[in-house]
């Protein structure tokens, strides 16, 4: 069993190394002006970047705009990327995170906190948080319940602090390791772990407070 685990882990590590080499080659070709390589990079990373933006910003429209901004910025600065300092994935995530912070600061002046009655996320016309709290309609199917729970978690994510939110998103949703997250957030690994735990606990409290009947 240990041998199998080691083999599986080894294959995962090899796949990751191979992936990193392919990406590095694509980045070099992009820096040289290869449009086909650029398209390949966009195809590989656009889904991940879009999810980070969507989970942080809470809105599909904002996520789309932010994703485009990320890739526009990367396209303009890809020639200055230094593969020795960090991986392309880490650098891309750093650019994304910086744009998300700027976006949050800009929107902070418009609204201080989300209302419990504000319906956000991809399901824009879904019931509000308070409506779900008061709802007595039982879910008939497990995948519907799962989808609804995901919507509730997504909305609850918007209610926790942005510092905790970004740490939680990068670790629990994007599966980045602590070292990479520390590079992206420019804080020590201990701080990263602390923020992740506090983010998870805060999320649980918000969900317990608003969705106790449904959960």
């Amino acid at each position: 069993m240990l041998a199998r685990f080691t083999a599986v882990t080894g294959r995962v590590v090899e796949a990751r190394v191979e992936e990193a080499q392919v990406v590095a080659l694509l980045v070099r070709r992009c820096a040289a002006g290869d449009a086909v390589a650029w398209e390949e990079l966009v195809q590989r990373f656009h889904r991940r970047i879009y999810n980070i933006c969507y989970r942080f910003a809470g809105s599909a429209e904002d996520a789309q705009d932010l994703t485009q901004e990320v890739f526009i910025k990367v396209y303009r600065t890809v020639a200055s990327f230094d593969g020795e300092k960090a991986s392309f994935n880490t650098w891309l995530t750093t650019v994304t995170r910086n744009l998300l912070v700027d976006h949050f600061r800009k929107k902070r002046n418009d609204r201080m906190t989300d209302s419990m009655d504000a319906a956000q996320g991809a399901d824009e016309d879904g019931p509000s948080l308070a409506e779900r709290l008061a709802s007595n309609q039982p879910s008939q199917q497990s995948h519907v319940e799962s989808h609804e729970r995901q919507q509730m978690v997504h909305r609850a994510l918007q209610l926790i602090s942005p510092d905790l939110r970004e740490a939680v998103i990068l670790r629990d949703l994007q599966d980045m390791d602590y070292r990479e997250i520390a590079q992206v957030l420019k804080v020590p690994e201990g701080t990263v772990k602390s923020r992740i735990n506090r983010g998870r606990a805060e999320l649980a409290r918000v969900l317990q407070r608003t969705y106790r009947p449904a959960l």
């Binding site: 966009v42 772990k193 998870r200």
Partner: protein, 247 residues
């Protein structure tokens, strides 16, 4: 509370190991001490429960599918690769299709039910007016229109010329009338003067008998008038300086 030592572990140490414990990577003695502290500390136990639940809910989250045109929009905004594909697609469409799209785009604001109703009413009104003015559609051909234009132009020119002629005639008649009136006035003036002169001459003739010791002084004008009266002709002698001395 965070610094309390329970089962050989501080709460701060418990907090530092929380991540590994939740993710199941905590091993050996550390895990044993962790669990002992968890059992002994209610606060840390509650914290552990909350963090575990939060992590579980987050791990249920699935990726969201991005919009289908996202890659295309990104490429269009950056390298333009998507634009090249769009241009190739455009080249494959026929010229008639491209023309149709352009025309549709221009007239799109007009091709709505509201404007259709307005256009229908406008067409009806124009038709009614043409009908009442007895203007037929075939009269609106270029040949007929140019004929109508030139004939109307001729009529206007003739009217103008007629009016000018009338004005000129009126002006001449007015001038002639004025001239005749002026001549009439002058003639009357001459006649009046002549009568006056005649009367004066007759008076002088009656009074102009040689008087003893008298002396008659004839001015030049009187001499001329006398000569004229003697000749029996009425002559207009013009403006002469006349000086009559009363005797």
């Amino acid at each position: 509370m965070l610094g309390e030592n329970k089962s050989g572990m501080l709460c701060t140490e418990f907090d530092a190991l929380l991540t590994e414990a939740v993710e199941g990577t905590l091993k050996g003695e550390q895990r044993l001490r962790f669990e002992q502290h968890q059992a002994a500390c209610a606060t840390c136990e509650a914290l552990f429960a909350e963090v575990t639940k939060g992590a579980a809910w987050l791990h249920e989250m699935e990726d969201v599918a991005p919009p289908p045109m996202l890659v295309h929009n990104i490429l269009a905004a950056t390298s333009g690769v998507g634009q090249a594909a769009a241009k190739a697609e455009e080249a494959r469409t026929s010229a008639w299709e491209r023309l149709r799209r352009q025309v549709s785009g221009i007239f799109a604001p007009v091709l709505t039910p509201r404007f259709g109703m307005s256009l229908g009413m406008a067409f009806f009104s124009v038709t009614l007016v043409l009908n009442m003015a007895q203007i037929r559609i075939k009269d609106l051909t270029p040949h007929n229109l140019s004929h109508t234009f030139y004939s109307s132009q001729n009529k206007v020119m003739k009217y103008y010329e007629n009016m000018r002629l009338v004005y000129e005639i009126e002006s001449r008649v007015r001038d002639l009338r004025n001239a005749s009136e002026e001549n009439e006035r002058e003639r009357e003036e001459r006649n009046r003067r002549h009568e006056k002169n005649n009367n004066q001459i007759q008076e002088q003739n009656q009074n102009n008998q040689p008087q003893p010791g008298g002396h008659q002084d004839f001015s030049l004008g009187q001499s001329w008038r006398w000569l004229a009266s003697m000749g029996g002709r009425e002559m207009y002698l013009g403006e002469l300086a006349m000086q009559r001395r009363e005797i």
